[in-house]
């Protein structure tokens, strides 16, 4: 799984989460259900966070692409000195996954669960993968 596929996967996770939560909430509202997922503040807040994160990402990517379009490369240039394009996409996407998984995790295991290390380890793994992919895309090699 390369950087692009990884970014697509995270984005699809965000869209899938929004679709599932949105469908469940709307199902309860439209059918006047007795038990509504919309009454659960955790899911509603998570869905709003993901929506906002995707909007922020869209604005950031548009800005980054505008900068990239206007940039020039001089002969002998190997890599960009700032790596701004990698700082926009992957780290921004991680926040989407965290808000999604944290809500679901707390529903299953509870907020003060002793299995909290599971979620911590998962976040670390996703962040670690994102940084590795960004470095490899930036420098064209694995970190030393």
């Amino acid at each position: 799984m390369g950087e692009i596929k990884f970014a697509i996967a995270i984005t699809m996770i965000a869209l899938f989460s929004i679709a599932i939560i949105g469908f469940a909430v709307k199902f309860g509202d439209v059918n006047d259900a007795q038990v509504k997922l919309g009454d659960d503040e955790g899911f509603v807040d998570a869905s709003a966070d993901i929506n906002q994160s995707m909007k922020d990402l869209s604005v950031a990517v548009n800005s980054s692409m505008a900068d990239f379009s206007s940039s020039t490369a001089n002969p002998g240039d190997d890599v960009s000195t700032s790596g701004q394009q990698f700082k926009v996409t992957l780290p921004s996407l991680i926040g989407v996954t965290i808000s999604t998984l944290k809500t679901g995790y707390e529903k299953i295991f509870g907020s003060d669960s002793e299995f909290g290390i599971f979620l911590t380890a998962l976040f670390f793994l996703i962040g670690f993968l994102a940084l590795r992919y960004a470095y490899k895309s930036w420098f064209g090699k694995n970190p030393d």
Binding site: M1, A9, I10, M12, I13, F16, S17, I20, I21, A24, F27, G28, N31, A33, Q34, V35, K36, L37, D39, D40, G42, F43, T97, T100, L101, T103, G104, Y105, K107, I108
Partner: protein
């Protein structure tokens, strides 16, 4: 249960729970069973998930030689979510916590699918 009434030993067969009124419709039947046995709706949801998940991977393995667990997990959890949403239309079958857990499992299945290194299907 055996009850001694005088010198007569009477055998009374008792059900584990009060038998529901089957003439009130399927939703009423499930509702009454859920009131007597609160774990019953959760058991139905687990049954739906297990049938779709295990049936799916078994059939795919037999037909194609491999199985895609994350994909069948998403299909099974989505099916379970749909059944759980139908249970929410009537009060007294499942509560908000159960619905939240089912939704969380569905989202986790999606995370598993999209982060898994499949055979290039997605």
């Amino acid at each position: 249960m055996h009850i001694k009434v005088g010198l007569v030993k009477t055998l009374i067969k008792m059900a584990l729970y009060n038998i529901p009124n089957m003439t009130g419709g399927l939703d009423n039947t499930i509702q009454e069973i859920a009131r007597e046995v609160p774990a019953f709706p959760i058991g139905i949801l687990l049954f739906v998930f297990g049938v779709v998940f295990l049936g799916g991977i078994t059939t795919q393995k037999r037909r194609s030689g491999f199985y895609d667990s994350p994909m069948w997990s998403v299909i099974a959890s989505t099916s379970t979510l749909l059944v759980a949403l139908l249970f929410t239309l009537v009060s007294g079958i499942i509560d908000l916590l159960t619905l939240g857990v089912v939704a969380a499992v569905t989202i986790f299945s999606g995370v598993w699918l999209y982060l898994s290194k499949g055979r290039g299907e997605i």
